[in-house]
Symmetry: C3
């Protein structure tokens, strides 16, 4: 595993640069991300390019043996550019222009802005494409951050018209597909269609889903434009984008197809505090370590987006500034997070940022160095990891590259599908239901059983897995159905699976639609429950509670869990199982354990807050609990750490 | 009682229509509402009228003996119309245009849109006014749904100027009436007046109340325009509009004056989950049956709007899609709701909708049929009611029409006044106070005593009642005062009664203003309490708590309840009583029982969650409780059901 | 102490005016505020001045021996003026024009509106500057009420450009100061800068702080314009403005520099209910008396703004209309509040308002008289105070003027700085932190120890104090540092002190920046905690909890309180102490007591809810508790009241 850091030479006097580079090396840093917010430094006034500072800083990094991930600066167009092309600005759902003064002030659909992106990316790629320091390029920065995928400006409407024409061909087909006869919403031409905001009550969900898809495709095209230029001028370098946590507004799998590696920016404490998925109890318990599945879930998700290759582009190194509250990490947490990323397949963990800036929006965001250039806590933990990597290599008798190539795939797959996410969240039927949250809780259940999981797109090959979970695959395409039929392992489909056709309609045979071929059953109606009402479930496979979503199922399949009126909740036999309700952690875990057993997978009994992950012959044991734990995987010997692990500590074992 | 259903032939292939009609008949449906969202099917492009589909579907319904309630399609103007008259769109309080893409995208004040309504209504009325299937017309659909009464567009301002000139004559009179000398708000001409939105702090409440009245009058005029056309071309047919639950933004009594029947759309579960009036405990307890007084309150309210005639135009048949959470009804609940409507005087209960649509906004809204055309639960319960109606007719020796003409009026009247509602809610003085909620809780108290109630407008005759409750009649007009003086029964006036003059000012003699003639007392000041502070009350008439609103009363009248400092809370003697505070359920019920006793009315002791309602010689016993109850009204014999009633069950008794 | 009242002769028939004046005198009123909302009465149409009504009413007041505080009417420009200068209207943060229809519909930055203010103020000053009744002038009314300091209109942008040029000179200096290199926010000219609203994510905090300073300076200039005119035409009269509670959006100290007296409008119950600073328990406990430190805090704060001179311009006399809930005060509370103001140095307490208006926005706002002109409760309490003032004068052998000149300064100073408030709240780092709230809780701790406190600006002389508290002085200027070095008493600096440079950057030596000269320590990082997590503190100086903000401190200073990991929380020795965390009431009070002891100050043990205040030789004992208390200060004799005090009662003692 390599360590990296995000660095902004433009923020500091030149006289500092060499010392910074030397200090990075000393800690064990090998990669440095540079440049992604520097457009106004590169081009302070239109057409006047200032490359010298970047030339010099890349040279200094190179001289110190550091490799550079160079960012295109398109997330922060300068003021003069915005003034020249005011139509490039996004509008929010309320119709307000989202102006200059922070970052991401553009809509992906703006053709004028894309042209400017092409220009600056070409200039950079031509200049640095063959620079010996440049090992990789990052396109833009955090697509969608600050809720910037959906925009309601003129450029977006124009793009939507084109997208719809392309998809439907004629307006009659669209009217039919959307069911526009309902409420007299029929259009006579594509040009009559508006964006689905500021309607009197909710717009047609088909309208909204298509707009979401269109906006997602704008991101894909926007990214592709830069990718093509970079491939032309900087062939052989890894192209990467840095995704975010709990973010589903565009299809990361599609963007990932055009890139070489997926990376993401992980802030375990900021997200714990910010996200509504976590209960108050979880927020309190994991205040200084983050939720035990936060990092893991995204590592497994984005490794799937990166065709197996994963980097962490920004790793939280201390308190951040942007969450509602910003506590300090527990001692050791930065090291824990770093090793955990490796256990899930990361090749690189890069800390954000090198040195805390004393000015502007993020002046309260910690770095490896403090504003006064002294080392902060995280610098010590990063250095420790760097030393431990050496120790681990030695213990395994591998060099660094061999270590990186340890296999990281799991034997259980959980299918995550952005289109399903939009489809279900746009009509959630209950405020208590969200696709992402349900996927996360299913993933949590698997992880608490000690299973190593891949999170896969709906078009992924299935043949390497012994068990497959479809948390809520709204639409089952013909292709997917064929692959599910061919799938050799144990399949579990969760509530809402197969509940929509490709046109966002209810299937003629009702849910689970085509999946009924594998699982003969019909969802007769849905009971969408408020938080105050949960129902008991019990049966051969355990007991517990159901909540939020409860389907009334008609089937002759064996019933493994029932609600307290005797209605089926979990049904199935052989390889195929259907779960019609959202279960609480206890019942869910019990059922997943039964399925894993049927799939021939070994599960663990882990103390609360403890997780394990296998990678190759290694077993990583991670303690997120507040208590010290004592845990040793059977048939394994210790390589790093100890059986007894305090909070935020990690041990690495090797299978004997 | 007749059963009906809402049907959208335009959503289904023609080949289905005949089977649908036959299936309706089989279940026992006699009325079918058709057409109210079909403008784009009728007139897909300006002036090109497509009647054939509607001709055919009416014919098929007619051939199957079904009667049609034909809706004017004006709640959903097509896109081309909106593009032609963009000024017809409403603006919300924030000044944003409320655009096309769902429904109700118009402001009532738009003269251009009214002209289009006149055109389409005339065309429909001319074509179908004498069609043998057409028994009734529904104007538009759910006036005000999605908060569409108040609009802040140019058309609304123009209408407001006219309305104000008409009311006040000169600007000096308006300035005086509104008290515009306060804060230098005086105007020199009507044209200087703006709408009362987007002011720096709250606008003058007189300004707001008058704007609300003006907007309400726009609805009246808008409805009247259609009524006049329909009466011309389709004389003898019942004209009806479908009102909504807990909706007070326009004066339903005024709209009702122009119609023949009042109907409303009842969704007991959706409203339970959605409305802040209900406590979390109520939401949990009544999750699958709705609150015991929800249906009843509106039945009695709208029967008063319909001059004694009541239909249910849309009855919830299963889970809906639009509440925050959408649970399934208890088994039997649809039947319970249907019978309850009858017990309160309904002539017709029509289910929404026939068959669940597989597309667009309401694809998760249940119908009598599922999307696959199989019967959903509700179809069975509707069929059961249809059979029980026959049984009941037989038991009473009446035919269907005689059954419908059973008297439904109560002996207790509760006055509900939209103008009072606006007056008090625009200056609530406490976030904990809302006029509607207080009326509802008084009604609940009466119902828990087993009393059959009429909810009446302020201009209703009073002579048939033994007891009259004025929950909070803000302004006591001369006419009302005269009728109150002449009233022969027991009168209870609640807090805030008589607190405003006709010009929204405090009466010179303070509250209760002119009512002091009947009840010599003066409200010296008001204690408006947060939820965290309630006060004990006790006295000759019981004990309990007061909350939200507590008036300091000066009077020599006998004091029947006092607060814990000895201040009067409930005072009065003989026929006239004044309650100065909002009471909790216990104290309120005890006081209402005393008043009923004085009025010579018999009250019941009912188990929690149980309600009864008398209609003619019949006594309906309804169980909303979670437990099975055992209840038999004295001196009555069972006609339908049994003494023991499970949750959501009903029994019908006949007085011996 | 003098009593006054706010009076609106324009609201009442002329025939009432004489009776009103006589009634005021009878109660003991000596001052009457008049005119501040009367522009439309004075000038109903442009240029047509109607002075007669004001001439007459001033004459009647004068004839009855009443002194007038005359208000300029600029808080309520008439409609015709707004129509003439639509650019004078403010825009809110969302970009919406804040229109006519209530009050304060202008932005301070509008040059057109300032010109109109100059015109009307000149006309009034010329006419009444030498009127014998006019003792004082109030400029405008409640600057900033209804959130009107920050405005985002064109006039504001123009003012901001001028202000920035004036401050920074060149755009390069601004770019450097703001750190605009971060996120490519660099500008090429001042004209490129926009207002910091409607950005995609948060704007640069330097941008926001400077905009806040600019807006504050607009208020200063706006006020100064009126002051200059009034000084010219009405020399010798006290110029005053009426500030508000818990309001920090402009620099009151700067405005106060141009005036003779500071006054404020005190509504203890309205603010208790409205403000998030108070817990639900406090809201319940103090429902009818207000929080024990609400009045006191503002009295001490504004006395500091008024260079030692303090008036209460509006004293709550009964229930108000504008809080979420509006309870009645406890019997005696109005008297308590009045005397408390005197104990903190008030020369005048003026009630708002004379007679409750029966119309417009505030018709539910109590006055000394009810709408029917009868006395409300407060009139009796005011009259009682008037008599007690006479009794007190007699007991002390002083005349009224001597009484007013009793010294009111404390021996403890708490520094309150508007610029620090903006600096810290614009980047709070935790939703649980607010500068004002922390200052208030520190003040509360001091008051619970019986200490008499001055709240002082950062440029105040320090030499009269034995103890000085800097709750969170974000920036320590060279001048302040010099005065702190010279300060002879005990100094306590709280968390975040010295954490920002003058350019809103982190100091090179980290916090507490220059203060490290006096207190050698360094804030290494910050732990910003959510409400659900508090940490124990303990040490030589007591024990309790820390919450919200917890700094990691490196120092060799003695550690007086530590957190439960042994990290320093409160450090210091000799005269200088640093507190790195927000403490709960118990720990805070214990530490303050230790510091007071070191400063040689005597502290009291007071029952909960009881406060004392010394003024000259007098000791005021005030009971805000719900229980009757028994308390006698040692070595003092009773002048007014008794040892035993019921809720809302007060006693005045004289030191022997």
């Amino acid at each position: 595993m390599k360590l990296g850091v995000c660095y902004y030479p433009e923020h500091w006097p030149k006289s500092r640069w060499r010392a910074d580079a030397e200090h990075m090396r000393k800690i064990g840093i090998e990669y440095v991300r540079v440049g992604e917010f520097s457009w106004s430094t590169i081009e302070p006034t239109p057409g006047e390019l200032h490359w010298q500072w970047l030339d010099e800083s890349l040279d200094i990094l190179h001289e110190n043996g550091l490799k550079v991930i160079l960012g295109t600066p398109t997330a922060t167009p300068p003021k003069w550019l915005v003034d020249r092309y005011p139509g490039m600005l996004a509008k929010d759902e309320q119709g307000r222009v989202r102006g200059f003064g922070s970052r991401r002030h553009y809509t992906f659909a703006s053709l004028e802005y894309r042209e400017e992106c092409r220009r600056i990316t070409s200039l950079m790629a031509q200049r640095y494409g063959q620079h010996p320091a440049v090992a990789s390029w990052q396109t833009d920065n955090e697509f969608g951050c600050h809720d910037t995928i959906l925009s309601y400006a003129e450029a977006d409407l124009a793009a939507f018209h084109i997208w719809l024409k392309d998809k439907y061909g004629t307006i009659e087909v669209l009217n039919q597909a959307w069911g526009n006869v309902f409420w007299s919403m029929e259009y006579r031409s594509f040009d009559e269609i508006e964006l689905p905001n500021l309607t009197v009550t909710e717009a047609n969900p088909s309208h909204r889903v298509d707009f979401q898809r269109c906006c997602s495709d704008q991101v894909v095209a926007y990214n592709k434009l830069q990718v093509d230029i970079l491939r032309e001028h900087s062939a052989g370098r890894d192209l990467v984008h840095n995704y975010m946590g709990f973010f589903t507004a565009f299809d990361h799998h599609k963007v990932g197809q055009d890139l070489d590696v997926a990376s993401w920016d992980t802030y375990p404490l900021g997200f714990l505090d910010q996200e509504v998925i976590y209960s108050e109890e979880e927020k309190h318990t994991y205040l200084r370590v983050g939720h035990p599945d936060f990092g893991a879930f995204h590592h497994d998700l984005y490794r799937g987006c990166g065709k197996g290759r994963l980097w962490i582009m920004e790793q939280q190194p201390g308190p951040v500034n942007w969450a509602p509250h910003n506590p300090t990490p527990a001692d050791g947490a930065v090291r824990l997070w770093t090793w955990e990323a490796f256990s899930h397949g990361a090749e690189l963990v890069s800390y954000f940022r090198w040195r805390q800036a004393p000015f502007a929006q993020e002046q309260m965001h910690a770095g490896l160095l403090r504003p006064d250039a002294e080392e902060a806590e995280a610098a010590k933990e990063a250095a420790q990891v760097a030393q431990e990597v050496v120790k681990l290599s030695a213990a395994l008798g591998m060099d660094a590259d061999e270590l990186l190539s340890l296999p990281s795939a799991g034997k259980v797959a959980l299918m995550f599908d952005y289109d399903a996410c939009w489809s279900l969240d746009i009509q959630p039927q209950s405020r208590a239901y969200r696709y992402l949250f349900w996927c996360y809780r299913m993933y949590e259940g698997l992880r608490e059983l000690g299973l190593s999981v891949d999170i896969i797109p709906s078009n992924a090959p299935l043949d390497t897995y012994q068990m497959l979970v479809l948390p809520a695959q709204a639409h089952i395409s013909d292709d997917l159905l064929a692959r599910l039929e061919a799938f050799d392992g144990v399949l579990l489909a969760g509530p809402r699976t197969g509940s929509k056709t490709s046109n966002y309609q209810i299937p003629e045979n009702l849910a689970p639609g085509p999946l009924a071929k594998l699982m003969p059953l019909q969802v007769e109606r849905v009971d969408a429950l408020p938080n105050h009402t949960q129902m008991a479930v019990s049966g051969a496979w355990g007991e517990g509670l159901l909540k939020h979503w409860h389907e009334q199922i008609a089937t002759d399949l064996p019933c493994l869990l029932k609600d307290n009126s005797g209605n089926p909740v979990l049904v199935g036999q052989g390889q195929h199982y259907y779960l019609g309700s959202c279960l609480d952690n206890g019942a869910l875990k019990a059922s997943l354990a039964k399925l894993a057993e049927k799939a021939g997978l070994e599960t663990y009994y882990l103390p609360k807050g403890v997780r394990i992950r296998e990678r190759g012959e290694l077993i990583f044991v991670m303690n997120y609990a507040s208590q010290t734990i004592d845990f040793a995987p059977e048939g394994a010997e210790l390589v790093i750490g100890s059986r007894r692990l305090e909070t935020a500590n990690i041990a690495i074992w090797k299978k004997c």
